[in-house]
Symmetry: C2
Subunit: 390 residues, 2 copies
């Protein structure tokens, strides 16, 4: 007498979690320093020191009832204003505090957006490779999930494949740039062409086709690579942001949804996002973290150690003969599996206690993902193992 889908979601671990648990088991046997775990995208740089300093300040200068009390469901005005100001300073984006809804991280934000867009027969497209949780989020909202063929080997967007996939039922396309798992950043050129295609298709089908921009990695770009703010390119863009990676606060669950007021249906969309969140038990995002964001939203992560990891691993792999997607953002490398079978290759690697995630669950078989939010030691010690495996 329990819900079957919920039971299945609660028992079927993701491939990533399984590898991670296997790694912990192996670490207990052979020692943690002998397990080279590239499975989990858990930030390895600490939060900026201003974060803990700001918490200490809030404890001193803010009344307990205000600090820990309910905020409105949409979030504290000061927090929303600070986010709007920061986005406007960086992107001249015309964001208003009233366009923002503060969430417990990007995941419930995405779920609320899917819930808001859940109309009978509605479809959501994701561009492969994509974050595997999109599928259960979309399907639980009662929508159909469809993957769009990856643009190999550059991992931009195959507009021809996307154009073919869009139907009159398409409600939105999920865009995730910098990308998990590919580590690529969609260029302004790609996004402009995407916007043009969606404008055309929206006209053809007589309703807006939204971009849902899932942006937990927005601040993680290297070598000066531009990460365009998509609402300034295509007005029907809903942004789901999280401070998990930018401030290294993944466990604290704080982020936001932004619905531009110039978006078609904005007046219906934002209340629908709030209503969908309410139906899932959203009361407010954690109050103290909201107050922290009001003071810290301008902080940017210190990417130096990720960047050293990125270069070391990328250059080592290329030297060993691997083909790797251009690693411009996030903290992932996406690598072509020698022999073409990523699952088999992952199993072979596992024998050397090298834990890598095959791309199948990301909608991109034949590749594997490496999370380089690890120690530099792990990278330098494991590169010879990668060389042996090829």
């Amino acid at each position: 007498m329990v819900n079957e889908q919920a039971y299945a979601l609660g028992t079927k671990r993701s491939c990533i979690r399984e590898l991670f648990e296997y790694g912990r088991m192996r670490a207990a046997i052979v020692g943690a320093d002998k397990v080279y775990d590239y499975s989990l995208g858990n930030p390895s740089i600490p939060a900026p020191k201003e974060v803990n300093e700001t918490i200490a300040a809030l404890l001193q200068d803010t009344d307990s009832l205000a600090l820990h009390g309910y905020t409105s469901a949409v979030g504290d005005l000061a927090t929303r204003q600070a986010i709007a100001d920061d986005l406007n300073a960086r992107y001249d984006a015309g964001v208003n505090a009233a366009d923002l809804f503060i969430t417990c991280g990007a995941a419930p934000g995405l779920c609320a957006v899917f819930g808001a867009l859940a109309v009978p027969g509605g479809e959501i497209l994701a561009i492969a490779p994509y974050f595997p949780e999109y599928r259960p989020f979309v399907e639980s909202a009662g929508l159909t999930f469809k993957a769009v063929t990856p643009d190999v080997p550059d991992f931009q967007i195959r507009l021809d494949a996307l154009a073919e996939a869009i139907t009159e039922n398409t409600q939105a396309i999920i865009v995730n740039s910098p990308n998990n798992p590919a580590g690529t950043v969609y260029s302004r050129q790609t996004l402009t062409a995407l916007g043009a295609l969606l404008t055309e298709k929206s006209k053809e089908f007589g309703h807006p086709i939204y971009i849902i921009s899932d942006e937990p990695y927005r601040e993680l770009a290297y070598d000066g690579t531009e990460v365009p703010f998509i609402p300034t390119i295509y007005k029907n863009t809903i942004v789901c942001y999280s401070y998990s990676k930018s401030l290294s606060l993944p466990g604290e669950r704080i982020g936001y949804v932004y619905v531009p007021q110039q978006a078609d249906d904005a007046k219906a969309l934002l209340p629908a996002v709030a209503g969908a969140a309410r139906s899932m038990g959203h009361v407010c995002a954690p109050s103290m973290w909201q107050k922290l964001i009001a003071r810290c939203t301008h902080l940017r992560p210190d990417l130096e150690s990720y960047d050293i990891n990125r270069r070391t691993l990328y250059e080592g792999l290329v030297k060993a003969g691997y083909r790797v997607a251009k690693p411009d953002g996030a903290f992932y490398l996406f690598v072509e599996a020698p022999g073409g079978d990523a699952k088999a290759f992952s199993e072979k690697a596992k024998e050397k206690d090298l834990l890598i995630v095959p791309g199948d669950d990301f909608g991109c078989p034949g590749y594997f993902r490496l999370c380089y939010c690890v120690s530099l030691r792990q990278i330098t010690e494991s590169l010879p193992l990668f060389a042996e495996l090829i």
Copy 2:
């Protein structure tokens, strides 16, 4: 092209929120001290001082990556163990850490439980008067919400009405004691009789009928009134708890779901709760607050100021001629509306800037709710107004 139910939930404010917003508007005109707002159940005693002290300690003694990082979806083991130990010390309840799922407060915990119990045609019963949000939570999970006639004027449970309401489709009964809005506590006698009825009905229909015990007010009981721990009375009880009121942390979103391992189907239920939570974007409960609970779960609120408010308001109202339900718990009084029409009475009170919530949305017309988590000054100054109104 947005979801209609989500839009409706996002635009239709609750009667409580509307009153509260009206009060803020009036405060701007006549002054905050001239508005007697009894609308919102927002704790008015600050968090115990150990809470902020523990945060300060955590900032000092816990590594940033561990403090702010992802925990497992079910929650930190240390947190779950501390909660289990505390429950076992108080109730000899046989709780295991593995039976607990840490949530972002009681609301998403309830939603996850409803999601886990969502089978085709399934029904959830709530005993009037009940917290109005139960209805959208239940209906959004795809279940049918049914209210059971209130037990006037004692606000225990009318077992005859409940027995009649239970069908083969009944999945669970929501129990909320201490009760919002009635302020009553279900006695051990009531709960034992309820357990016996549900045991009989479960046998009759060939499947367990669960109690979902929504317990944000568990620690808020006065005059030594016992608040029985329901799983020790009826094994098929799922507990949804929150620290919002017990530690005055309503904005911080921390609580748990407890599924006793002796419950029928426990092996399916707990994963289904986790899966339902996952489908709504639950990643983990806020990490630092989990670590705080590991150290602070034994703390109890200092109820003195609530108790003074309770006595002052209760005695004042009774003296003025009002009939009030026995005010044993939570921070609510439930009062019979003179004349019988609570909406009309609430409008009359509004003319005196006295904001009281009619019981209609709680499934109990003819009564109104007063939240006495306010200043004592508000109570003493508003009692003469109540006397004028009767």
